[in-house]
Amino acid sequence: MAREYDTFVDNPDGFEAGEIDVAVRELTPDDRRKKYLTRYVRAKVAPSEEELPGSDILWLRWQRGRVFPRPWRIQVIRELGEFMPKKAVVRNQ
């Protein structure tokens, strides 16, 4: 059975298929207490299972949380670690 993940993107309508680095949240872990934990992964993403056979489900969310109604597919290639390198920019938020 396919596992489910989600990720937050600027524009789900403009999300493109391919190989990307992405932060995903676990939605169907074996231990339910681990739900929503985040992983950074290198993954292939596609809009349908036909284009990515054997893949898992990837729900897209806008940056402010609303879920996009049509799920994508994801195939994790490798783990990228727990964090992102800090960028040298001044942020207001």
Partner: protein, 476 residues
């Protein structure tokens, strides 16, 4: 009064009719959040959930101080006191701080895990709102940090989200006290030690939510609010102290060279307006907790909740009042109404000269407490600042369309919903001042409109007769 921990506080709330206990099993994944949110929007009671899915033996206390009544109970004030009475008591007590005492043993250290044994998912951190960026373990808590140069210790209520078993992500604004300390550690190339007290005594959380000026000790203010010293205990792995009766304590370091994605989160403004973004990483090296721990949550959103009551009405209100009094402004009252979400400040003043509203705005928006707010309404001493209907009437009738409205650019609060994403990200915003006072040069008889009210437009003798005979006319 006795300093109430959460166990005593829930009992006190039960006695005053301000708490509902839920004994059926409920889900940490949004169900608890939805219940607490609805109760907040109804200005209803707090909730103690006694059975949590996946977490036997744990409890969750939701909406601890989301009404002024409950803030009053936490401070040992009669819950039936008026808004003005509660605010005045709060204001008086916070100006009479009491230093803490250190104890050797503490309930919050009844259980301890360190290092690789740390697993944040052992606590029922709720998914507070559907679509939030993660599970927020820290919504009614404070983050303890120490200035690396001065040694001053800050308590601040900054939201923190579970990232994975050992790490959390959190928003620490550059304008906050912890943000300024974090920058110092980053320049030194060091992580910043922290402790987080989750579910401390309610007065401690209230004190941490108040935007006090830097170098004022929140723990002393909490003692003032309770009128007795807070009992602190040394942390196990960092050189910091936390309230001994906290439910859960996290110890660790805020990393200086990496980030994690955090948010979005429904906030005190009533919206989930900020996007998911790279933010501070909290590495947790030690967790201590009380037996049968109670995870305490605040569900921020549309009024009324702890954000509007503790941060807004009590916190911003008292900070602004302090700043105006220090500047010698002849104020007659300051009120930050809960439905103004901390963004709207009302100041009442006598008006000895024109443009006092401008002077007030410079003090308000220049103060630590008033800086993040966006709207200021200035009324004269004939308007009761606590009566929103009267304030609205003053706004609608006394604010000149041009001379009474001032706007100017200022730092943009990233949580301000009306700013664009770019404005929030770059800190570009503005302020609006609405002057609802008559010009001083208007002749009282020839030019100033006569208030058409019972108290103003009839002769005193007739008013007294009408009041005396009110029941005779047939009124109840």
């Amino acid at each position: 009064m006795a300093l109430l921990d959460n166990r005593q506080f829930t009992k006190a709330l039960k006695q005053t009719g301000d708490l509902v206990e839920v004994n059926r099993e409920v889900d940490w994944d949004c169900e608890i959040g939805a219940i607490v949110r609805r109760a907040c929007e109804m200005e209803g009671p707090a909730t103690l959930f006694n059975s949590i899915r996946d977490y036997p033996g744990h409890r969750i206390f939701g909406g601890p101080v989301s009404t002024l009544r409950r803030a009053a109970v936490a401070m040992g004030i009669q819950p039936t006191a008026s808004t003005k009475e509660i605010f005045d008591q709060f204001y008086q007590r916070m100006q009479n701080p009491i230093p803490p005492v250190l104890v050797a043993e503490a309930p919050c250290q009844e259980n301890v895990v360190v290092g690789d044994a740390v697993d944040l998912t052992m606590f029922p951190a709720p998914m507070v709102h559907d679509g939030d960026g993660g599970r927020y373990l820290c919504t009614w808590h404070f983050v303890v940090t120490k200035d690396p140069e001065t040694g001053w210790v800050n308590w601040g209520m900054y939201r923190v989200m579970v990232h994975n078993e050992r790490h959390m992500g959190g928003i620490i604004l550059a304008t906050s006290d912890a943000g300024k300390m974090k920058l110092k550690y980053e320049r030194m190339g060091k992580p910043m030690p922290f402790a987080i007290a989750i579910g401390p005594e309610p007065v401690c959380a209230i004190s941490a939510a108040v935007p006090l000026p830097a170098n004022i000790d929140e723990v002393d203010v909490a003692g003032g609010l309770a009128q007795e010293p807070v009992r602190l205990v040394r942390c196990k792995t960092v050189d910091l102290e936390v309230p001994a009766n906290s439910e859960i304590v996290l110890e660790g370091e805020i990393l200086h060279d990496v980030e994690v994605e955090e948010g979005p989160f429904g906030e005190y403004t009533g919206y989930r307006s900020g996007p998911r973004a790279p933010r501070a990483v909290y590495r947790v090296n030690c967790i201590t907790w009380r037996n049968n721990p109670i995870t305490v949550i605040s569900n921020m959103g549309m009024p009324v909740d702890e954000g509007q009551i503790c941060y807004g009405t009590l916190g911003v209100g008292s900070g602004v009042r302090q700043a105006l009094e220090a500047a010698g402004i002849p104020i007659t009252g300051v009120f930050v109404p809960p439905y103004g979400a901390g963004n709207l400040i009302i100041v009442g003043t006598r008006k000895p000269y024109n443009h006092i509203a401008t002077q007030i705005s410079q003090i308000v928006f220049g103060s630590r407490a008033g800086m993040p707010a966006n709207f200021l309404i200035v009324v004269d001493d004939t308007t009761d600042v606590y009566n929103i209907g009267k304030v609205l009437h003053a706004l609608a009738t006394k604010c000149h369309w041009r001379d009474g409205v001032m706007t100017f650019p200022a730092w943009g609060n990233p949580l301000a919903p009306f700013l664009s994403l770019r404005e929030r990200a770059t800190g570009r915003g503005g302020r609006i001042v609405l002057d609802c006072t008559w010009p001083v040069e208007w002749d009282p008889e020839a030019e100033k409109p006569v208030k058409s009210s019972f108290a103003d437009i009839y002769p005193k003798e007739l008013q007294e007769k009408v009041l005396r005979d009110w029941h005779v006319y047939g009124f109840e």
